[in-house]
């Protein structure tokens, strides 16, 4: 059946590949933190054990060990004990199986710092902020960067001479540096915009006009700090792709046929976009990483800050939860880009369909 649907076959093939990648990512997420000596229960116990006698401390510890799946539990929820009366440790393998099941159900475990809050709860609050910041900056930054890069390649001359060094500079500035610069100039020196946060602290998050307008006001600087840099980086890549396309035989032939300039411009743009889309897949991880760091500069209430706070307090479940979420999102974005390329490039379709 698949034979007759090359497009479907392509999509399924890619989906399978990304699923494998996802499983690898989950595996890394599980094993890497457990390679270190860090044990969440020790961390919590250091915090809560003060003032408890040994017996009740042991009971509390056992409770936590159960919760973090470090000891074996029988069907009745009782801790399984060995002959010496000590709780039997869960093997890494079965921990992993449990973890896999939980992750797939969207449960990322419990937080240490904000115990007994679940990690998914903490992250849920941060996701909208990060999405609102990153999705538009990367999508629009990518589009506008490509248009400007194509224009620079096509027009050359003065426009290119001014634009190119500017774009090169923008692509070289790290997002966090640019963020600091914006904060210093437009928030501290001039007080045009707020320096930190995602909204006025006097407000509670809600879909109300005062809250939304406050959020928009706080949005400007973080947005710019990432957006302009994405534009710069993409424009550089697109410019050189377009210069290459302009030298190809098919552009020369179209010119000799007397095809209109704007049509040729469209050919060039579309064909140069395809490698740019592939490039996006490769650079997306870096872009997202850069934007997460930029969030920190603005103390923006997104995932970047969540990771930072978690790192500062050794809240491993939150760190790994955030990491898994970011990785998954990047994978989904990559998958989308992949499908778009397959859709837009007949060459890939032809190869996939076996002709």
């Amino acid at each position: 059946m698949l034979k007759n649907h090359p497009v479907l076959k392509h999509i399924l093939g890619r989906a399978a590949w990304y699923l494998v990648t996802f499983l690898v990512a989950v595996t890394i997420n599980f094993f890497l933190p457990r390679m270190g000596k860090a044990n969440p229960v020790d961390t919590i116990m250091a915090k809560v054990s003060a003032g408890l006698d040994t017996k009740s401390a042991n009971a509390v510890e056992e409770q936590y060990l159960k919760e973090f799946d470090l000891v074996q539990v029988d069907a009745h929820g009782k801790v399984v004990r060995g002959r010496d009366g000590k709780a039997l440790k869960t093997s890494l393998g079965s921990q992993f199986v449990n973890y896999l099941g939980m992750s797939l159900r969207g449960d990322l475990g419990g937080s240490i710092l904000q115990h007994p809050k679940r990690v998914s709860e903490i992250i849920k609050g941060a996701i909208p902020w990060t999405l609102a910041l990153q999705l538009p900056t990367i999508v629009f930054g990518w589009l506008i960067g490509n248009v400007l890069g194509a224009l620079a390649a096509y027009k050359r001359g003065v426009f290119d001479k001014l634009f190119y060094p500017g774009a090169l500079l923008m692509s070289a500035i790290p997002a966090f540096c640019f963020g600091i610069l914006l904060v210093y100039w437009f928030a501290i020196k001039r007080e045009w915009f707020p320096a930190v946060g995602g909204y006025d602290e006097g407000l509670t998050p809600a879909l109300s006009i005062p809250f939304l307008s406050s959020a928009a006001y706080y949005y400007v600087l973080p947005f710019l700090s990432v957006f302009l840099l994405v534009v710069g980086g993409q424009a550089i890549g697109m410019r050189s792709m377009c210069i290459y396309e302009l030298g190809t035989d098919y552009v020369k032939y179209a010119k000799l046929l007397g095809v209109k300039e704007n049509k040729i411009l469209y050919y060039m743009f579309r064909n140069a976009m395809l490698p740019q889309l592939t490039g996006l897949a490769v650079s997306l991880g870096t872009m997202v990483g850069g934007a997460l760091i930029a969030e920190i500069i603005f103390s923006y209430p997104g995932l970047g800050m969540t990771i930072l706070t978690a790192i500062q307090s050794n809240d491993y479940p939150v760190i790994t939860g955030c990491c898994l979420l970011v990785t998954t999102t990047v994978l989904i974005a990559n998958f989308t880009a992949d499908l778009l390329i397959g859709l837009l490039d007949p060459r890939i379709r032809a190869v996939q369909g076996g002709k």
């Binding site: 020369k252 179209a254 046929l257 007397g258 095809v259 050919y267 060459r347």
Partner: protein, 326 residues
């Protein structure tokens, strides 16, 4: 003469300006005329200026290529010195069209054949109706022997090399150009496909879709069957221009003779006729050349050949650039 020429090229000179300020005179004083229904072959080694001649003849001067002097006329109207937009709209593809060398990469890989063809028509006629164009394309492609149903909806990658070249020819001749310049249209193809392509070009001429044709190649034997007249090009100049019979079987200019002598054929008896290669390389066109440009390699060169600039003479009813040819 009863019929005026369709295409006239008069003392055309064109040069490249390199980034380092060097001038390369790639086409240096070329003149010829084409009549209705005529195919003129242009033969020469690589680097003799054949490919530059194509752009120069279309009035399309994109830096680093520049017009030095001379004129090109189609039906008596000069196409030189127009602004770029008028040249694009009225000349390219319409009066003078070209068939490129490497058809493999000449088609936009992400555009269906019919879309490129539609772009081509719309670029010259803003008012054309899209639906009507599709019908027109279908009709034209069927007429020239291409399976319109299959080809028009294909992307270039789906077509084999020979088919791609025929599609390119179909698109290049959509607007019934008066002159077609074919730049080595068959050199990348194997002999069987080559024949099909030539057949197609003949059909286009016979159906009067094409007025006349310039056929550029380095394969002299091919020109024997394709063109009625042949011009031999060397170092930016025509060195001999005559009928196919004259040039191939009775050449007078030493370079043409050498070129003919280097050809092979599968005829019985030919095995004993030993082909002789031309030693050496053509002169560098970046320098001013004194005297005959072929003198360095010419087996018949005399002492003064390197001194005297060679002019076109009429020898045995054809144009020859050699003072000693007879």
């Amino acid at each position: 003469m009863a019929t005026p020429p369709i295409f006239e090229v008069n003392k055309l000179r064109a040069h490249y300006l390199t980034r380092f300020g060097q001038t390369i005179q790639a086409v240096d004083g070329v003149s010829f005329a084409l009549k209705e229904g005529e195919i003129l072959g242009i033969a020469g080694e690589s680097g003799c200026g054949k490919t530059t001649l194509v752009s120069a003849c279309m009035g399309l001067y994109i830096p680093p290529l520049h017009l030095t002097s001379g004129d090109v006329k189609v039906d008596g109207q000069s196409i030189i010195g127009m602004d770029v937009e008028r040249n694009r709209k009225d000349v390219l593809g319409r009066l003078v069209s070209m068939i490129p060398q490497g058809a493999l990469n000449s088609l936009n890989p992400t555009r269906k054949v019919k879309d490129l063809a539609t772009d081509m028509i719309l670029s010259h006629d803003d008012k054309a109706d899209k639906k009507e164009i599709t019908g027109r394309l279908r009709e034209r492609f069927e007429k020239i022997g291409l399976d319109a149903n299959l080809v028009l909806d294909s992307y270039p990658i789906q077509l084999p090399a020979g088919m791609k070249q025929r599609v390119v020819i179909g698109i290049s001749t959509l607007l019934n150009p008066r002159v077609v310049i074919a730049d080595e249209p068959t050199s990348a193809l194997d002999v069987t496909t080559q024949k099909a392509v030539i057949r197609m070009l003949f059909d286009l001429m016979d159906a009067q879709i094409i007025g006349s044709m310039l056929f550029i190649t380095h394969e002299l034997p091919l020109l024997r069957h394709v063109s009625s007249r042949i011009a031999v090009m060397y170092a930016g100049e025509f060195v001999e221009l005559g009928t196919t019979e004259q040039v191939i079987f009775d050449s007078r200019q030493p370079y043409t003779k050498a070129l003919m002598g280097s050809m092979l054929s599968a005829e019985p008896g030919q095995k004993s006729k030993k082909p002789v290669a031309i030693e050496g390389a053509p002169p560098n066109l970046g320098h001013k050349i004194k005297g005959c440009r072929f003198a360095e390699r010419c087996p018949e060169a005399r002492p003064d050949c390197k001194e005297n600039q060679q002019l076109i003479r009429i020898v045995k009813e054809r144009e020859v650039r050699c003072q000693y040819a007879e």
